[in-house]
Amino acid sequence: MWEFLTNVFSIVFLAQLIRISIPYILAAMGGVFSERSGVTNIALEGIMLNGAFAAILGTYFTGSPLFGLFSAVICGMLTALVHAIISIRFKADQIISGVAINLLSVGLTKFFLKIFFDSSSNSARVEGIKIFKIIPGNLQIIETINQIIGNPFIIFTAIIVVLSHYVIFKTVFGLRLRAVGEHPEAADTLGVKVNRIRYVCVLLSGCFAGLGGAWLALDQHQFTDGMSNGRGFIAIAAVIFGKWSPVGAAAACLLFGCAEAIQITLQSVGSGIPSQFIQMLPYVLTIIALAGFIGKSTSPSAIGKPYECE
């Protein structure tokens, strides 16, 4: 027991938790924007996968992870654009569109993996994100701390969460996007361009989820087949669990990440709790939250409904 506690309350564990949570948080921010504006986005999964692949491809060809990130953002937004066009322009079922995009992403990444890396499982290795040495020293613990505070990506993610919260609740754009997700007709009669806002929000979700994918890949220094591995769905679970607020969703991601980190720690210690049960945790919690057992989780009222203007 003591060993377990020291393992959990260690800086290494914290680093692990953050490392796991970052892609969830990024994708969840995307989910919040998209769903708040009224577009369900289960395509997050596929967007992450595409983003991961694009990040590796970009880094591989330029040698610069920064360019990799840029490619991930572009690719994520392009994927999201497909979802936006299907669900906003063609007013089609958003769930089906998401399913199709997820299938498409699996196919596309595999296809291009063959073309560019001549492999069906993984890409070549690339350079990861540069960690800055904020605190000098060679101790293991300092190294670990540096990995957290010296990683621009982690800082960047934190900023995105705070900024998203600010944008959604304190700005003009935020008011409009909330109104569009709650009562698009009302927004429309007041001259708010409903569909334009939805496009922007879905594209934002592509940008964030793409970045989430990029983190996954760059953290591993390579792309492996199907590496998003359900993380997009965890992000959606976090959005629901966090009641569609950026800070809430981020907290949910940390909770889910924490569970996963505990699982990894437990595995190394060799505890009795099967890893599968910890894997289930986010999903079980989400079902319970939706059933109304943990406060009330009410979705934006216009979610999933295309807007038909007169």
Binding site: V172, L175, E182, A187, T189, L190, G191
Partner: protein
Amino acid sequence: MTESYVIEFKNILKRFGKVVANKNVNLSIKKGEVHAIVGENGAGKSTLMKTLYGLYQPDEGEIFINGEKIENHSPNNAIKHRIGMVHQHFMLAKPLTVSENVILGMENASGIRLNLKEADSRIKKLSDEFNLSIDPRKKIEDLSVGENQRVEIIKVLYRGAEILILDEPTAVLTPQEVKEFFKVIKSLVAQGKTVIIITHKLDEVMEISDRITVMRQGETVGSLASKNTTPQEIAKMMVGREVLLRVEKNDAVKGEEVISVRNLSVRKNKETLALDSVSFQICAGEILGIAGVEGNGQTELIESIMNLNSDKIASGEIKFLNADITSVSTFERLERGISHIPEDRHKRGLVLEYSISDNLILGQQHLFSSNGFLKQNAINRHSDERISSFDIRPADKKVASKGLSGGNQQKVIIAREFNRDFKLLIAAQPTRGVDIGAIEFIHKQILKARDNNKACLLISAELSEILSLSDRIAVLYKGKIVKILDSKKTSEDELGMLMTGAEK
């Protein structure tokens, strides 16, 4: 001539595909007046209103605003000319605050940050100026219906509207709220605003408006000054003939008690009751009419009798044929002999995608099946018989009900419900949105049921319908039965008084 009018419509024509929604529409609105546009359901009022606000473009005709000819009228153009519209269905996002809803679309922000403080104070000021008493920081979901409407008015005032279009503004209000609402309108006009009200409630029109424009079958029939006319005259113009106020009927031959409702209370939300200890009974061979402004508990009453809101019932007992049915399922209630013509035929009465013949067995499918399989031949025979005896058109049982006119859809429901061996008929808004010919047919059917010794509960928003069909009339006000009267010994005036909560 034109300059004295703020809005002028000349010979407006609007088509949707082959259907002509508006034609020969002429309308002139003076500055500072309350102008009512009245007409029956489907007379083209809402099309006209949407054209006014620029949501529809007329196919022919001319629009003048402040004497200036308008091409390509649009909502933006309407806002530019200080026209504001309050929709019948509130256009408010519930989880957002009053201020957030009001400023949406014209946040007037310095930079990108919302300036809610400034908005709050401006809204407070508007609210005080027009006696609206709205707290800008409250969330919409915490406001009453009347308050919701006042928020809508603030929304258009905030945008500097000089001309306000109000679509059926009193439909959802309690009589008390209507009075408050009229005060608001008066204070608006006192400040020089022009108000256009679209409605079909004549008594209200007479009380509040300066001038009235009547519409019938998509056309404007004429405009009158309110003080020079009577409700009868307007009603005649609306319908196009003398309104038949009393339907020919025999005296009721009352039989045994069929249904009795005792102290029924139904929750609306946590705090308020939609129905407050309602009691009444109906005997075989009589029609009990429920009079009242819509939203005073009528829907809840029907739902309770049919067991469609079991989670909301707070207390009470319903007895049908001397048996307590309070905890009996909807299916079982129908089986025991209740026929139900729902108030909203699209929501509850029909499966619009189903064919006429499928809809004719809805709720009776077990009578048309054996061992779980549908008996298609029996269904076909049944449909043909019902279609011909109730004169449903088109006389094609395979046609989807979606494509039928309102009157024929209603006939399908009646044909179906009359097929049951019922003891009690619940007829809710049986002639809503139905043409005159079908109205007479439906009224005859209801009377026929009564003469065949059935008990009838008639719920209608049309006072004249209640008066002409019912034997007794219960007035429902704020969820309570104010009084039960003999229909022969009462008048529209007395009912109107009771419906607005004024005891005697």
